[in-house]
Symmetry: D3
Subunit: 220 residues, 6 copies
């Protein structure tokens, strides 16, 4: 399942990250996936303090977004990384590693997040493609928008053919790791948020009963 959030970052946050991106030190993106010979992009050096400021802006946005929280059920978030694709750069079809070596305990990547910094018409190519068997979902958002999707899908970034693709990406460990279960809880949560006030007390309690017990059953 996908959740696209427009204006996930404010315009001023997008501008700040855009400005900082010209000062940050970039390194070879293969550092995070050395075995993928089809990956050629640049990522902000995690040791660079400008890059760290960018990460912090993205983390703040993740923390304040109710929509993201209701969809993702976040448990832990990896440090967001600014990523830059110049003309010809690409990231071949791949699956994100189940566990990322983050801190003392590896982080299970359940949900992937791409925040678009460059605007969709600032560059050609560079679409994020999610493979669903023979169908492909193509994602290219407005600056400041974010898209969340299950890390369980094969995906790729098409080669950039003009301009520069600038995105911030991160990975989230969810309290509800199974994508289908997580989506059902999101759906019930929406029903509760939008309909509970109109419901008979007893039915509302029954809905709570199911939601809370599914969270108990499915959390991991």
């Amino acid at each position: 399942m996908f959740l696209q959030i427009e204006k996930f970052l404010t315009e001023s946050e997008v501008r700040s990250i855009g400005d900082m991106s010209s000062r940050v030190k970039f390194i070879d993106g293969r550092r995070s996936n050395p075995h993928n010979t089809r990956k050629t992009n640049l990522i902000a050096d995690p040791a660079d303090s400008v890059g760290q400021q960018i990460s912090q802006i993205a983390l703040n946005a993740l923390q304040r977004s109710d929509e993201a929280r209701d969809f993702v059920f976040p448990k832990r978030v990896a440090i967001p990384t600014l990523s830059r694709y110049e003309v010809g750069m690409t990231y071949g079809a791949h699956i994100d590693s189940a566990f990322l070596p983050v801190g003392p305990q590896p982080l299970r990547s359940d949900v992937s997040c791409t925040i678009f910094i460059a605007n969709a018409d600032d560059y050609e190519g560079g679409e994020l493609i999610v493979h669903l068997g023979s169908q492909l979902v193509r994602l290219k958002g407005a600056a400041g928008s974010a898209v969340f999707y299950a890390s369980t899908a094969i995906h790729q970034v098409l080669p950039v053919t003009s301009g520069v693709r600038l995105v911030v990406i991160t990975f989230i460990e969810s309290q509800i790791p199974d994508p289908m279960e997580r989506d059902m809880l999101y759906a019930l949560g929406e029903v509760r948020a939008l309909e509970a006030a109109k419901m008979d007390w007893r039915n509302r309690t029954q809905l709570d009963y199911v939601i809370e017990n599914l969270r108990r059953m499915w959390s991991r």
Copy 2:
């Protein structure tokens, strides 16, 4: 979870079974559980045609009851049996067998059903006791009422101290064998039945989405 349904049988059905119970041939109830040395009751002989008519009345009631169907998610029903406890008769604490040798494929007993034929004040003692650890649930219904409960619980029938306890019992294999999962689907089904008409189309579809997919996941 328990479901007690008043007037599960009509008054005339209760009267018919009462009348027939004086003509039916009874045999030793231990036939269905020979290892339980604490069982002393009588059951209608399955080969007796009067007993078969009684079974059919109970089956008809099960088939026409929407409440029972929504709570039980029935897949197969064992042939209901008239059971008679005279003074001093009892059935010690026990758990129903997981599988009953019914027809070519054994029937998994997921839900137990007791239909009360004698009225609660026609006999003393004879309560159906369901053990929930240190708490006991005591069940003794009006003639024609039925109670459904998970076959997973230890239960017993207390000794009858006066009068005659007459009940029809049966076992049902459910599409949703896990008691907790079955109860959550029942709760969501009630919410849908009672609230969907008031809901926004999109939320109603989300609720359908969850219910149908939980049924897919949990059926066995």
Copy 3:
């Protein structure tokens, strides 16, 4: 996951169904989902012998297709139905029922299949839309092609704005009901089919070991 198969029906089969579709008796499509007030289409009368011939052609195609079998792991198939959408007809967003009342035992609908009879440029509108949260997958295939997708997704058919949309649809109960598990077994099966001949004997046996045991674990 989606599987689109081009030329699932031969050209002559498509022509036959097209011809027969002008002679078959159509009835109101709401018959199969009376609660959906947003459904207005026509389906071939299941009692009509012409419609039955159409169903048989579709069943034959399903049985001979190795691609479909490897993707679906079919256990039971519902009788395929010719469906007709004239201008203005539509099927609002909905989820397919978990169980269809087919024969003595209900059929769990795990995989949905649409076979396109009218060509994509014979009608406007009428796209099959599969909802994946905020992203939509739009499906409109060439005559004779088929698309298979998990019945667990909310989907709809957009209103036809010109021409006639003619499709055959069916539902399949899979040996592997969970969509993710089914897709993983499909992926491993492809790896085996395409790579096993090149593999060292021991590794090939290890791959068999995993595939056969996942099928044991995940079948239901």
Copy 4:
């Protein structure tokens, strides 16, 4: 399942808590569940040092009770809270939240515990009612007794009609979150504790084999 433990607190502990309860600062109980408009009770201010002493007495009792440990399989315990219901106060039917915001990582509430401080005949009304579908379990214990039950059940506290209801409540995250699985392990543990000494060595080892492996399988 329920476990009622008499004399869970010593008489002197009950007296101490009773004495301290007259000095502790109480605040509106809705603080812990602001959405429940049917909740009107008082809880000891978590910042009050007298309340903290009360919590510590309850924690000590939980730690020393073998019965509680064998039934609950505790992993983490929320800080117990003294709760006071005066005449007219009540807590409507509700389900406990799956996760409580306790410390850096939320605590999953698997088992709920009520320790009775006021004696059952010190107040009228105020029963703790656990809903099991159409059957209700009514709980009102002697001072110093405790009752443990699965947090998965809908429950309520009836309005107090005279006197004051004084209880300490807490929530426990269990190593075995599923209530049915937890109860089966409790049952096997009792069989081992009471019968293993009489068993043949081989059978005893077989019983250990099952218990230890179920704990591996079911812990989360």
Copy 5:
């Protein structure tokens, strides 16, 4: 897990099968697994009436053996096949197919069974080897003995270097498909069979409670 049963067939049954084996028509064993290029053995023609008599003897033995039933929890049994390995014949390391095309519905092979007809010292080589990672279990039984083991393991038959290896093999679909779960139920069943008579009534009921509910949970 393994179960070796001595004298699974009577001496006269072994003799009968031995006699019939000289009259039965053998065909190439690859018929049941054409892809395994390392299989060279002979199997009795399923269409041959002598072979059918042999199968019937094996089926009878399976049905009368309480030990086999308690270990296997049989649901369906494939028709047993007499298999013959002459000098040089072998069956390379492989895993049994998850599903066998037996009758209208495929049979899931959960438990494999080999009944030894030739005596262990009638031939050299021909050991049944079950692979457990780096350890191998070697099985070569006395005439009339049978060995049952989970079909989930990779196994092979070593080349016969002298004499003739004669065995009857079959595959069983179990009510409890998971090998570990099946073994735990077998262990608890043994404890009940051997210890229940000595147990306190309450503990015995608790043990029944666990066994019957695990069977409900784990059957498939």
Copy 6:
């Protein structure tokens, strides 16, 4: 499943441990399992600094071994313990406890590891026997070799009849606690390690897709 690794310790590490073993303080092995009346062995005192050096050597070997890591998917490792069996000492058939009280959070013992320090011909008896129902696996390795096996199996150490058995043992909590699931992931990992370089890019990505998603599903 078993994994035996030859030369898990270097010759010099074996010699060091052998030397230190003559200086270390031994205590009664029952300390770690006081209920097992059939355990008579000696273990190095955890408080002894020489014993701690031995533990560190074993931990280093575990950390550097790719083979062990690929087979075990380690999450936490208990401190390895030197264990000494003199003539007549033994450890009766038992199952390792599911949880060991190690540090603030108990460690789930999923994989057991024995590192042989004394050479197989330095002592008679003392075999490690793993029970697989009616078959036994006998393990007695060369000095410096290690064997890993699922902690879910009943096992024992036969009485030593001459010489001294010296081993280091430890317990590992695995990211993949289920033995069968862990073994399937190990098998797929081997296929990837040995065959991926030869595979078509698409098939390799499909294999990655399955491996990473099974790790997500099965980790706990």
